[in-house]
Structures are given as C-alpha cells and as structure tokens.
C-alpha cells in the first residue's frame, strides 16, 4: 500500500523534483515487545515536515537530498532521534525502536544492553557470581538483609517484607518460609534478568498497594528477528572463596514471527571463610534455575507470550539460624496476550494469567549441634494464582491514561514439628492455612501541561479478604483471640502525584507526594510463635491489626552535566499504625527470650537522602558513585526502627576499551548506632571494602572475566546481617563465556 502511495507521490511531483529527492521509510516498534507502534509522529528536525505511522507501524516520507535528523515520538514512549542521509531517487530505511517511558516514580534498571543506564549494574551482572540480590543492592536506597550467603532479602530505604511489593514479570508470588528466608528475589537467577523496576515507597503502586516500595523483576524475554537465527551462550565460573561453581547457558531462536528462549543456571557453593580465614559453617548451597519463554506474533498487532520458570535450591546453609533449608522450590507459569493499536485511543492492551507454587522445607538434619538437642522440621508452602488486564489509553500527544485491573488468590500454610529424644513429637501450625484474595483497580494519568512541566497522578483501590482456614491453626490462635473469627476484609486506597519541571534545561526537579497502605502479612496477622533470631523472641500474629498507612513526600533532582549526571533525592515518610512487635512476656526459656505480639505501634517516621553521580572523565574512564543516609523514629517507644541501614557509600571507577574493561569498586557503611533497642538490635561498626574486576574479549565469542572481592581482606558484617555473621574475606573469581560468535556468525 505505502509503496503504491510512494509511487503516486513521485509521479505527482514529476521527474524534475524527483531528481532531487529520496524516500525515507521505516517501521516504529516497541523496544520491549517488538510490536508496531501506531500513530507515531516522525518529524524532521528543523523542518516543518513529518509523517505518522500506519496500522503496521510503518511510515514513509519524501525528502530533499541531504542529511537530516529525524525524531520519532509517540505517547508513552521516550522520543528518539536518528540521522539519515537521503540520496536522489533511492529509498533509505530508518527504523525506530522506542522505549516505553518509565514513569518517573520508578527506577528502571536495564541489566543488559544499554551501558549508560545502570552502567555499573551492567558490569556487575557480567561478572560470573553476581546474584539477583547483589544487583538490586547496588541501587541507592536499596539494602540487603542477610541471613547467610544465600537469599538476601531486599529492603528499600529500610522497609522490607510485607512493606514491599515484589513481583516477577508483574506476577505476584509469596515466599513460603515463615522466617522470610526465601524472598521471591531468591527464586530468580541474575543471569535470567532483563531489568529491575524499583519504585520507592508508595510512588509506584501499579503492581499493588504498598508503603515501602515495589520491585518488579523482568526476566529475559524471547525476541523476534528479521531473519531466522539462533543464538546461544555458555558460561562457567569459579569463586575461590566459597568454591562456588557456576554454569549458565542460554539458547534463543528468533524468527520474524516467533521467538523461543531457554536459559538456565546452576550454582554450587561450599562454606566460605571470613577475613580471618575462619570457615563460616552453613553458608554453602546448591541451586538450579530454568527459564523458558515462547513468543508468537498472532497478527501484526498482537502477540502471545508463554513463560515458565522453575527454580530448585538444595541444602542451603543459614549460618545465622539454628536450621538450614533442605529445599526451596518455585514453579511458575504465565501466559499473556498483548495487542497494540486496537483503536486510535487504546494504544496498548495486555491480559495476563499466571500461577505459581513455592515449597520450602527447613530442617536441621545437617547439624551436629542441635537446637535444644532435638531435630525439627519446618515445611511451608504457598500457592498463588492471578490475572491482570492493562490498558494504555491516549487521546492526544500530551496526555496518557493507564489502567490496570488485577486479581490474585493466595494460600499459605506452614507448620513445625520437633522431635525430642525419648519423647513425643511436638507439632504446631505456624501459618494456619491462610487464604487471601485481592482485587485491585489502578489508574494513572500522565500529562504534559506546559513544555517542561509534566504531571503524573495515580490512584489505586484494593479489596482484600483473608481467612485462617486450618482447624488446628484456628484452635491455636483462639487461645489468644477466643472470640475472633480470624477473617478480615480490608479496603485500601493509595494515591500519588508527581510534578516534574525542568527548572533549567539540564536540571529536572520532581516533587512527589504519596499516600500508601498495606495490610498485615500472613505472619503479622496469623503467625503463630514464629522465632526471630535477631531479638530472640517468638512472634505471635494479631488478626485485629489495623491497616498500616504512610504519607510520603519526596523531592528528586536530576542534573545533567556535559559528561555525566547527578541526582539528589530528599524524602520523608510518616507512618500511622506502624506494625511492630511488642514484648508480651519476658519469660525466657531454652532458646527464646520470651514472646512478642504484633501490635499497632502507632506513628513512625523515616527521612533521608540519596545522592548519586555519574561522570565520564574521558572516552575511557567513567566514575559512578552514590551515597544514602536515613534516620528513623518510632514515636511511642522513643526508639529507632529496626533494620534501618546506616550511612552507605559506594563508588566505582571503570576503564573501558574496545576489548576489555576494568573496574575498581568500593562499598562501605558508617557505623550504625541508631539501632532499635526495643527490637534488641546491636550497633554495627563501619567498614569499607574494595573489589576489583575486569573482562576481556579473547576472541569473538569468547570472553574472560576475572576479579577479586574484598581485596583488602576486611573483616566486616553489615547492619542488616542477621546474627552478626562475618561476610566473606578476600576471594578471587574467574569465568569464561562462550557464545555463538565463536562460530563466526
């Protein structure tokens, strides 16, 4: 069709003109989905000339011969400019891949690909032994709670667990360990990650209501290619410190109409040694993750995506706890249908259905010294299923409306059996078969009010229903709540507003206010005598807990310099009904200091700042650094909140050349003395560690990575580490990556 119109245009303009003109033609697609973008504006910079894409995302226009800068823009995507040379009587191709505009409330970190965004993360991921948690932990304001060398739990500005909303490809999933030893992030291998989307506090509520923040892990997706091709890689690595062996592979088959990707990672680590050379017992583990994705173009505007994820970990040591994990297992499946340009107003639509199952088995069968001289098992499982529908609506260039309706159902059960020698087994249900469903409606409106002034408003309503269904678990909780039916219905309303303004050309300032809510977690509402090794208390859930509420105000500033960028965020959170464990009994026995109950802890506050800097000194040297600091307060107890990170700094200097890069990075924290006394937290000394790593392209398709972690062999642990277990001492690592490039493709 467009070739006909092209001919007509040429014919109409006549030979004379045609002699001095050429055609620019191309297609505009969504970078993330590969789907064509309808109605995108393609404008020639400095000329009042332009075109728009048709239903298949294609455009064409006739230009005079010469060089032009062409800008492509469409609602909801970042405008992109490219240069093109037009020569007489020829057709030049210029395709655009536009990236969806991430709303300024979220930090989107691309793990692979684009080197300027998440630069440091890009390098970290390329070292063989990085984990999903390490990657997340590199972001300002994000810390990790560690209970060993495995499955660290992300914490955004000191808020974790139920205060955060973690999703995998938008899918809800819930850890099955009552002691939070399996945050969802631990079920995703870093090599399978494509991007990490982080929203701090209630600034991002698309994936669910939250007070602390949201984290969406996007896994590698199958891709299309213009002609059939297959790509693969295989990578082997070794870390001397923990004797960790790692093997990863991926295989991608791409065609114009379909994509298939299969990837996996296997890791096995022994106990590591700290800086003194002391072996930290029970820090080893074994893990295998597999990831299969299939994408098919159903028609030029729609595609079907099927994804399957499995992850199995065995014999995971937890040095901070008296028990280990026999196995931790995830099975996840999702299917989604995406379509674009249904009508001129509905830009995009997606429908997804998913389900997942997590099984977790804690035991102490590997321990010689037993907790209270008896073996114990703590199995737990969760089952989750859900669905959501996303709609992206736009009327004109300057405003866009995003809608999401979502639903999920989840069930959590855990129990504990102890086997005293010569006596009867002791059993209790610790998560009483809690069934919970959530129905939510989200909407977000973005608009460009004036040049350089954007507003962004979002709102979310949630309805939650929760009930403890296990009979024995009900009987247990009725000891403390005799009249309670252990069922609750919660209505939650969250909202936020952002105002972004370019104060001067290079200084963009964003003022955000947000109000967030969250319901108590299964443990907080229905948990039964869950042991917390940080303070040594048993925790009892409280089905009458109110909904925790936060108010947040934040001022973000981004300054672009000629060779880099700088950002400074200031924030303040005020909480109402902050959920907190209060001592109910100081009757200490064999292992516990007594028991605590989750209560409405009243009002609390967190305030802090984050600063980051990216500076390119020359073509070869790049510096990236950051700092974060925050203070907390729990008003009623005149105390600090627990698990609040101290002043943290990190910085890296990278030397890049065509065939290799070398990076010196440092990471440290000041002493934390603002520790929560009520929670029995210790203060933590300061530390600074240095890592060195590099990568060398030996041959096309063959890559070597080398590095040393904790170069100066510091003896340290971080404030958020449970049990004050020391982190690994100096250790070197190496990995070799082979891909299809070696075959000269």
């Amino acid at each position: 069709m467009q070739s006909i119109s092209r001919i007509i245009i040429i014919l109409l303009l006549g030979g004379n003109l045609a002699a001095q003109t050429g055609i620019v033609t191309g297609q505009v697609i969504d970078h993330a989905t590969g789907l064509p973008l309808v109605g995108a504006n393609v404008m020639v910079r400095d000329f009042n000339l332009g075109s728009a894409t048709d239903l298949s995302g294609r455009y064409s226009m006739m230009l005079q011969t010469g060089s032009f800068q062409i800008t492509c823009s469409v609602i909801g995507y970042a405008p992109t400019t490219s240069g093109v040379s037009v020569t007489t009587n020829t057709s030049s191709a210029l395709n655009f891949e536009l990236k969806p505009v991430t709303i300024e409330s979220k930090h989107l970190i691309h793990i692979q690909g684009n080197k300027t965004s998440g630069h440091m993360l890009g390098h970290l991921q390329q070292t063989n032994l990085s984990t999903t948690e390490n990657l997340i932990g590199m972001i300002e304001g994000v810390s990790l709670i560690s209970r060993g060398s495995y499955a660290q739990e992300p914490s955004i500005r000191g808020m974790s667990g139920g205060r955060m909303n973690i999703t995998i490809n938008g899918m809800k999933s819930f850890g099955a360990c009552t002691d939070r030893m399996d945050p969802i992030t631990s079920y995703v291998e870093a090599d399978a990650l494509n991007s990490i989307e982080i929203g701090k506090g209630a600034l991002s509520i698309q994936n669910g209501s939250t007070v602390g923040g949201s984290l969406n892990l996007t896994m590698n997706q199958p891709e299309y290619a213009l002609k059939k091709l297959s790509q693969w890689h295989i990578k082997g690595g070794f870390d001397a410190g923990s004797k960790e062996r790692k093997l990863t592979f991926s295989w991608n088959k791409k065609t114009p109409g379909s994509g298939l990707s299969f990837s996996g990672a296997y890791r096995k680590a022994e106990d590591y040694a700290d800086a003194r050379g002391h072996i930290i017992s029970f820090t080893g583990f074994e893990k295998m993750g597999l990831n299969l994705g299939y994408k098919k173009r159903l028609n030029p505007k729609s595609q079907l995506l099927v994804e399957l994820v499995s992850d199995d970990a065995y014999d995971i040591g937890y040095s901070a706890l008296p028990m280990d994990v026999g196995y931790a297992r995830l099975r996840m499946a999702g299917i989604s249908l995406k379509t674009s340009g249904i009508t001129p107003h509905i830009l995009n639509a997606e429908w997804k259905v998913y389900g997942n199952a997590i099984d977790h088995w804690m035991d102490d069968s590997k321990r010689e010294i037993l907790f209270m001289d008896m073996h114990m098992d703590m199995p737990g499982f969760t089952r989750t299923a859900g669905s959501y529908v996303d709609l992206l609506l736009g009327r004109n260039q300057s405003s866009i409306l995003k809608l999401r309706s979502d639903y999920y159902w989840t069930s959590s059960y855990a129990d504990m059996v102890m086997y005293p020698v010569g006596s009867s087994p002791m059993e209790m249900v610790t998560w009483p078969g809690v069934k919970r469903w959530n129905m939510g409606q989200f909407m977000e409106y973005q608009a460009l009010i004036l040049p350089g002034l954007n507003i962004n408003l979002s709102m979310r309503y949630d309805l939650f229903h929760s009930k403890a269904t296990n009979e024995m678990g009900q009987d247990e909780l009725h000891i403390f709540y005799p009249e309670n039916d252990l069922e609750r219905m919660d209505h939650l309303l969250s909202a936020n507003a952002h105002l972004a303004y370019n104060i001067v050309d290079k200084w963009r300032s964003i003022l955000s206010v947000a109000s967030g809510q969250r319901i108590p977690t299964v443990s907080e509402a229905y948990g039964y005598y869950l042991y917390n090794p940080v303070d040594g208390y048993l925790y009892l859930g409280n089905p009458d807990l109110p909904v925790e509420t936060s108010r947040q105000i934040e001022w973000q500033n981004n300054l672009k310099t000629s060779h880099g960028s700088m950002s400074l965020n200031l924030y303040l959170y005020r909480f109402k009904h902050y959920i907190f464990g209060q001592v109910m009994s100081e009757d200490a026995f064999s292992y516990a200091n007594g028991w605590k109950r989750y209560i409405d802890g009243g009002s609390a506050q967190i305030k802090g700042l984050e600063w980051s800097l990216l500076q390119r000194f020359s073509q070869r040297f790049i510096f990236q650094g950051g700092m974060s600091y925050e203070e907390s307060r729990l008003d009623r107890f005149q105390d600090f909140l627990p698990l609040i990170p101290p002043l943290e700094v990190h910085g890296s200097l990278t030397y890049e050349s065509k065939r290799f890069w070398l990076q010196l990075d440092t990471h440290g924290a000041a002493a934390q003395t603002n520790n929560s006394k009520v929670s029995g937290e210790n203060s933590t000394p300061a530390f600074l560690i240095i890592n060195l790593k590099g990568e060398l392209d030996i041959l096309p398709g063959l890559k070597l990575n080398l590095g040393v972690n904790n170069l100066t062999n510091q003896l340290y642990h971080e404030h958020l580490d449970w049990g004050d277990i020391y982190r690994p001492g100096r250790s070197g690592f190496v990995s070799l990556t082979l891909n299809n490039g070696i075959l000269g493709q």
């Binding site: 102890m418 009867s424 002791m426 059993e427 209790m428 249900v429 024995m472 009987d475 000891i479």
Partner: protein, 267 residues
C-alpha cells in the same frame, strides 16, 4: 407431563419432610446401655455416655413401668457403687441421681470411679428406686461393671491442723482427647472420709500450670479451675502445640497450701 413430575417431586418432598418431623429422636440413642434389670414390675436400664473409666462418669437411669409400658419420671433414686476386693470392699464418690429427671425423662448421676475393675476386684452398683407413681420400692444390683484404667486419679495427701493425715481424691477429666488450643477440663475433689464415704470438697482454690518439659515453657490462656457443683472444679488448659505436657495443680484451702499434684498429657 411436566406438571405431574413437579407434583410428584413436591409430594416426595412433603413425605420426606413429614418423616423428618415425625422422627422423634430416641434420648438413649447417643448412649450406651450397660445393664438392664427388672424388679417387681419396674424395668431399670443403666446407660452411660462413654465406657466407664477411672475418673468422672455420667450414668443415666431409664425407668419403665412394665404394666403400662410408660416411662416413669416421678421417682427417687439412690445408688451405691461398691468395689469388691479380696480383703475389703470400698465405694467411691457419687452424686445423684436423686428425684429430678432430665428433659428426656432420664435420671442423671455422676460417679467418680477411683479404681479400675480387673484382677484386683470388681465393681457393682446397687440401685434403690422409690417409684412415686406406684408408691413401690425397688432394689437392683448391676453387677460386674467394667471400669477402664486411666492415669487421671491422684491422691492429695496432707496433714490437717491436728496432724491427722487427710486424703483428697482428685481426678482430672476432659483431656481424654486433648487438642492444640484451649481445652475445657474438670477436676473432681472428694475427701476420703471412710471406705464408704467420700464427701465433696467445695472450698478449694486451685491454680493450674501446664509445662512442656522438652521445651522448657508453659502456655498462655489457661483458666484456674473454679468450683461448680458435686466436687467439680471447671477450668481451661491451653496447649500451644502437640507433644508431652505436664499440668501442675496447686491446691489451697483458705490460707493453707495443701500441695501440688501433677498430671501428664501426651498427644
């Protein structure tokens, strides 16, 4: 045709409904008949709700006039359970039945067996009935009652102010099938006055203390037993998990601490 079917269905429902409402439940259906005796035109059936055991038992007497075949509800009943041992006989604490039948016309009584039947001896129960409807007296003996052993009977032994040894017989009831959570319990306390006389003790203060020795902890949510009637003290015990539990009951009378007895529960 459809109408017929509908009518048929309606009739069926009606019949079923009528059957349901006509079906008077037999008051003894839930009970176990352990003895029947007839004497002078009166039939006396002895029912229990559970098999007899050491501890608190409920016994039900059903009287029937053999001439009219009607249930007798106006009567005065007393009973005397006796254990016959090789060298001696003894009785046990008893309450009722008395003269007031329950709503089903059954005369209820409580017997605290303090010993199991078997090699050591046998239990019988001598029952005296004053039939007020016919003004006749009857006496029957239910022989060879099987009483199962439990470990729920203990003696609380102490010396009174005059340094005479006093024995209170204590039984713990209600924990035959313990569950995790809150369990209702009944303690019975009777004084062993003679081998034949066991009056109730009604003026005790009792405190409860369950413990899990393998763990070294107790539990929350217990209620100290409080006197109700017939030597019974009703309270609650909470078990936070399954396993081996001990329960200590401490007894005091006025300001006098009488002592502590311990039970074990394993489930």
């Amino acid at each position: 045709m459809k109408l017929h079917l509908l009518l048929f269905a309606l009739m069926g429902l009606l019949i079923l409904g009528c059957e349901d409402s006509n079906n008077d439940s037999d008051p003894t259906e839930e009970l176990i008949l352990i003895g029947s005796a007839t004497e002078n035109g009166l039939s006396i059936d002895l029912y229990v709700d559970q098999i007899l055991k050491v501890g608190l038992n409920k016994l039900y007497f059903d009287l029937t006039d053999l001439t009219s075949e009607d249930q007798v509800t106006e009567a005065q009943i007393t009973q005397k359970p006796i254990m016959h041992m090789e060298t001696m006989n003894h009785s046990c604490p008893v309450a009722g039945p008395g003269s007031a039948p329950n709503s089903d016309g059954l005369f209820e009584s409580e017997v605290v067996f303090i010993m199991a039947s078997g090699m050591m001896g046998t239990w019988d129960d001598t029952v005296f009935v004053e039939n007020q409807e016919t003004s006749t007296s009857h006496q029957v003996v239910f022989e060879d009652l099987t009483v199962a052993e439990t470990n729920m009977k203990k003696n609380l032994v102490f010396n009174d102010a005059d340094s005479n040894q006093v024995i209170y017989i204590v039984t713990l009831n209600g924990l035959e099938a313990p569950k995790v959570g809150v369990n209702d319990l009944i303690l019975t306390v009777h004084k062993k006055q003679t081998m034949m006389s066991f009056p109730e003790v009604a003026d005790l203060s009792i405190s409860i203390d369950p413990q899990m020795p393998d763990m070294g902890h107790g539990s929350e949510g217990n209620v100290n037993p409080v006197y109700s009637e017939n030597g019974k003290y009703e309270g609650k015990v909470a078990f936070s998990m399954t396993g081996y539990w001990t329960i200590d009951f401490s007894f005091s009378q006025g300001s006098e601490e009488l002592g502590t007895i311990q039970y074990a529960v394993n489930f």
